[in-house]
């Protein structure tokens, strides 16, 4: 009997989302936009850099430095000038992110074994990018220095720093971004679909229809819980396939662990969605509510920037964010093959969040009926 009722409810929920053109649009539009825009556009890599060079040196070494910068694939264009004001202007108007100034005595100093100096001016308005550019330029200057007579003399003593990148040897940005998206798409879709589900029924008047049926409150909640979870699992699966087959992200860990924890993650997300849904009277409020939760959740998850970069007083806030835990799991399973114990450690908070939000939602839901 209860199974018949529940099955009817689940089938209805799925059909209601899939047959509604707006519902379909939500399921198809944002995921595609997100996958394409984020994975291609949202990169903190810095390429195609424009620099300006003010070379006052007319010797060999100044020329050599310019050629090495030019030869580096990171730099798109080099503008030459001999006017200090032009440098100022180019940086000011963001025509170049960095300017390299080589002094008039550069080659002479090197030949004479005196310390030579290069000045690099960077646009601090784009501090992240300019730091990376400064790293690139620093390395070019470093290799040049090693080839100078003075450098060659000390070469055998110079410490070589050999860096190896674990999990992602070439630091491919998409290997980082696409697993992140697997987690965030489920948040986006799960939250919107769930948040709208009750609000929509309220607006259409079908909610009363449900309430007078023999469905019990918990059956309605389960019926509202399972379909968005199924939809979330579907999106996760599609994104995993895209990650592996389109973006070539290695899947090193166990899919079983990934899906196992995904169920709890989705329960937490859908619980939040139900909570928002039970709070809001109209679809409009539900959307704003979901949005209001989503933006901080994305920014305070470790997706955009590492949690440890945040001020210490803010870090505890991220503990209630389900995305935070699932990001660790997805990235861990994809790239690091993290052990079961770690997956469990990250899943426990998800269970707690799911439990709290679901009970809060059902409490609110019952109270709303009075």
């Amino acid at each position: 009997m209860w199974w018949t009722r529940l099955k009817a409810l689940i089938v209805k929920e799925l059909l209601a989302v899939l047959r509604d053109p707006k519902g379909r649009a939500i399921l198809i539009g944002p995921p595609i936009v997100q996958l394409l825009v984020f994975s291609y556009a949202a990169t903190l890599e810095v390429t195609n850099v424009d620099v300006m060079v003010l070379n006052r040196d007319n010797g060999h070494w100044g020329q050599e430095l310019v050629e090495r910068i030019d030869g580096s694939p990171t730099f798109r264009s080099i503008a030459f000038t001999d006017d200090q004001n032009e440098v100022r202007d180019a940086i000011d108007r963001q025509r170049a992110i960095a300017a390299v100034e080589i002094g008039p005595t550069f080659s002479r100093d090197i030949e004479a074994g005196r310390p030579a100096e290069v000045q690099i001016i960077l646009d601090g308005r784009r501090s992240n990018a300019s730091q990376i550019v400064s790293g690139y330029l620093g390395r070019i200057v470093g290799t040049l220095a090693a080839d100078t007579p003075a450098g060659e003399r000390t070469a055998s003593e110079t410490i070589a720093v050999v860096a190896r990148n674990w999990f992602n040897p070439n630091l491919t940005y998409q290997w980082f971004m696409v697993p992140n998206l697997v987690a965030s798409i489920a948040l986006l879709i799960g939250l919107i679909v769930t948040a709208l589900s009750i609000a929509r029924e309220r607006e259409l008047g079908t909610f009363d229809q449900l309430m007078v049926s023999p469905l019990r409150t918990h059956e309605i909640l389960i019926g509202k819980l399972i379909p968005p979870m199924m939809i979330g699992l579907f999106h996760i699966t599609v994104y995993i396939l895209a990650a592996v087959f389109i973006f070539g992200v290695p899947l090193r860990g166990s899919l079983f662990l990934l899906y196992g924890s995904a169920v709890f993650y989705l329960a937490a997300v859908v619980g939040l969605g139900l909570f928002i849904s039970a709070l809001s009277m109209t679809q409009q409020q539900a959307i704003l509510g979901a949005f209001l939760f989503m933006v901080p959740a994305m920014l305070l998850s470790g997706f955009a920037t590492p949690i440890e970069n945040m001020p210490t007083w803010l870090q505890p806030v991220t503990l209630v964010n389900p995305l935070r835990y699932f990001l660790v799991i997805v990235k861990g399973v994809f790239l690091k093959d993290i052990p079961l114990a770690e997956v469990v450690r990250q899943t426990i908070p998800l269970c707690v969040i799911a439990l709290v939000t679901l009970s809060a939602a059902s409490w609110l839901f019952r109270r709303r009926l009075e």
């Binding site: 009997m1 018949t4 009722r5 099955k7 009817a8 409810l9 089938v11 209805k12 059909l15 209601a16 047959r19 509604d20 519902g23 259409l204 008047g205 079908t206 009363d208 229809q209 449900l210 309430m211 007078v212 049926s213 023999p214 469905l215 019990r216 009926l369 009075e370």
Partner: protein, 578 residues
């Protein structure tokens, strides 16, 4: 009165998407100094026609001239001289009454010097003076409507267009509004009043009767009712099971239409036919058929070729509920609901025996929906209790709910689901499975003729079919009690007849029905009525009882609406005296 009509509609066609046009070759005229009713069920094309008159919409074919301007060429000329009240009154809910008036006064260019006088006059006229600082969203339906009218009248228009001003408004406000509008016509203003209520149509000076985008009739209402004059009979003195008698009458040749009217049966006969005789169960009283004045609805049905038969296949398939215990099926004991310090329903008590129809009658916001919701378990009473089939709705909710069927006022099935999916869903929710599910859904498909429509989205169904689907979903599980919330408001009269034929048939089999309505005709279908006003039940009895209570020398044969108004006024007087 000018000779030149204010509005001339010639050969107008308007289409939206595919399918039948919303307006199909309409011709008509609207004269100054008169109220012209734009009459028809929901979806007949009334709103579209009004929008065409405002110049906000253009016809696909044909032409509309308003006050000498062509709507296609000079909409600005029209908009400067008309007043228009759209269906939802066009008010800003988060602006106060005064702010709404100021806004429309500025938009319509009412000179500052004239404002004080005009506001005074309109606020007096609409009786809103006490509420000028209240937000429009916080006004009752009747007050909103009066404010909407006041905004439309700020700069005395030559033509006033009112789109369904009577919807959601109690009979008293409706009567007030009507009087206001009549006063306006005396000064030469032309008024267009659109309505789905056929009793409103009867009071108009002229009507344009629309059905499914076609113009059925244009002229004075008396002309239309004239076609059934002397063919309408009231059969009184039918004792016992008058619903069954009605069903038998309706299956007889020569009977065009028939409805329950209180304790009597109202029949429309084909020309020349004589009313059938009713069996008499009580030797003392012989049923008598007397000629009675025709109503607009009688003529409308006659024009559409008569109502459906009296036979309900749905009722036939229903297994009868035996009335063993004689206990009431639906009980309300002292039901009270308070929201903060506002009492929405105050100590409401009644019970409904098996096989009866009970009506909750009252204006919107009076508390009938609150009472209804407490009884079907949607609201928790602050005090008192409600029972269905002996089960307390809060404690044994699932048991009780399995035994009730519910049909909401506005279409509240899943619009994006197909007809078949809706049926399957409701079957599943009520725990039907396997053979029985197949059998019951099959039966509904047969009875209501859904065969070819099974894959269609419910929201795309025509209104009448939506109504049928809603009924089908409510009775799939053979409930003992049916809760109907304004079930036929805005529905065309044929569908309404069919609907009541099914309900009457089910009631005959022992199904118990609770219906809310502010629709006076619908109240007459009930065995008993509770009149709810300001949260309290101010009268309880059969429709005839209530009418008798108010009959006096001035009004020997009051209508249900007369009874309603008189009872409300009496209650107010008592309240004032106390």
């Amino acid at each position: 009165m000018t000779d030149e009509p204010f509005v001339r509609i010639s050969g107008v066609v308007k289409r939206f998407g595919k399918g039948a046009p919303a307006l199909d070759h309409i011709d008509g005229e609207i004269l100054g100094g008169r109220i012209t009713g734009l009459v028809g069920p929901d979806g007949a094309g009334k709103t579209t026609l009004i929008r065409l008159m405002t110049g906000l919409m253009l016809p696909d074919e044909g032409k509309v001239d308003v006050l000498g301007f062509d709507t296609a060429k000079d909409p600005a000329g029209i908009q400067a001289s008309i007043g228009y009240m759209p269906q939802r009154f066009g008010l800003y809910e988060d602006l106060s009454v005064q702010e709404n008036l100021d806004l429309y006064a500025d938009l319509r260019g009412l000179p500052l010097a004239e404002r004080t006088a005009t506001y005074d006059e309109l606020l007096e006229f609409t009786d809103l003076k006490r509420f000028t600082s209240r937000l429009a969203g916080k006004l009752s339906g009747g007050m909103k409507q009066k404010l909407g009218l006041a905004c439309a009248l700020l700069r005395k228009p030559r033509l006033l267009l009112l789109d369904e001003p009577g919807v959601g408004v109690d009979p008293i406000s409706r009567r007030d509004l009507w009087k206001m509008v009549e006063n306006l016509t005396a000064s030469g203003i032309g008024v267009v009043w659109s309505t789905a209520y056929l009793d409103e149509a009867e009071a108009c000076d002229g009507v344009l009767l629309l059905n499914e985008g076609k113009l059925l009739f244009a002229g004075a209402p008396s002309e239309l009712t004239g076609r059934v004059a002397d063919r309408v009979f009231k059969v009184s003195g039918v004792t016992g099971r008058r619903r069954e008698t009605l069903a038998r009458f309706l299956d007889k040749d020569g009977v065009v239409d028939g409805v329950i009217q209180g304790e009597a049966i109202r029949l429309v006969m084909a020309p020349g036919a004589t009313p059938p005789s009713a069996p008499s169960e009580n030797a003392g009283v012989t049923p008598q058929a007397t000629v009675t004045p025709p109503r607009f609805e009688d003529a409308f049905i006659d024009m559409l070729g008569g109502g459906p038969g009296g036979h309900s296949k749905l009722a036939e398939a229903q297994k009868p509920f035996a009335n063993e215990s004689g206990k009431p099926v639906i009980e309300a004991h002292g039901l009270t609901k308070r929201f903060g310090d506002f009492t929405a329903a105050d100590d409401i008590t009644f019970d409904i025996p098996r096989g009866q129809i009970f009506g909750l009658l009252g204006p919107n916001g009076a508390g009938k929906s609150t009472t209804f919701k407490m009884l079907c378990g949607l609201l928790k009473p602050s005090a008192g209790e409600g029972r269905v089939a002996g089960f307390d709705l809060r404690r044994d909710a699932a048991e009780a709910r399995n035994r009730l069927g519910y049909m909401a006022q506005k279409f509240s099935l899943y619009g994006d689901l197909s007809v078949a999916q809706n049926l399957n869903f409701f079957a599943g929710v009520y725990g039907l499975s396997g053979e029985r599910k197949k059998e019951r859904t099959q039966l509904m498909v047969e009875i209501f003729g859904f065969g070819r429509l099974l894959a269609m989205s419910a929201k795309d169904l025509p209104l009448g079919l939506k109504q049928r689907l809603a009924l089908a979903c409510a009775v799939l599980h053979e409930p003992e009690a049916l809760f109907l919330d304004e079930p036929t408001s805005g529905v065309d009269p044929i569908t309404r007849r069919e609907f009541w034929t099914h309900i009457n048939g089910l009631v005959e089999k022992g199904v118990t029905v609770l219906v809310t309505t502010h629709f006076m005709d619908e109240a007459e279908y009930c065995d008993r009525i509770s009149l709810i006003y300001r949260g309290r039940s101010i009268a309880l009895g059969s429709p005839d009882d209530l009418k008798k209570q108010v009959a006096d020398a001035a009004c020997p044969d009051p209508t249900m609406e007369d009874a309603f108004i008189a009872l409300v006024q009496r209650s107010e007087e008592r309240q004032a005296a106390a």
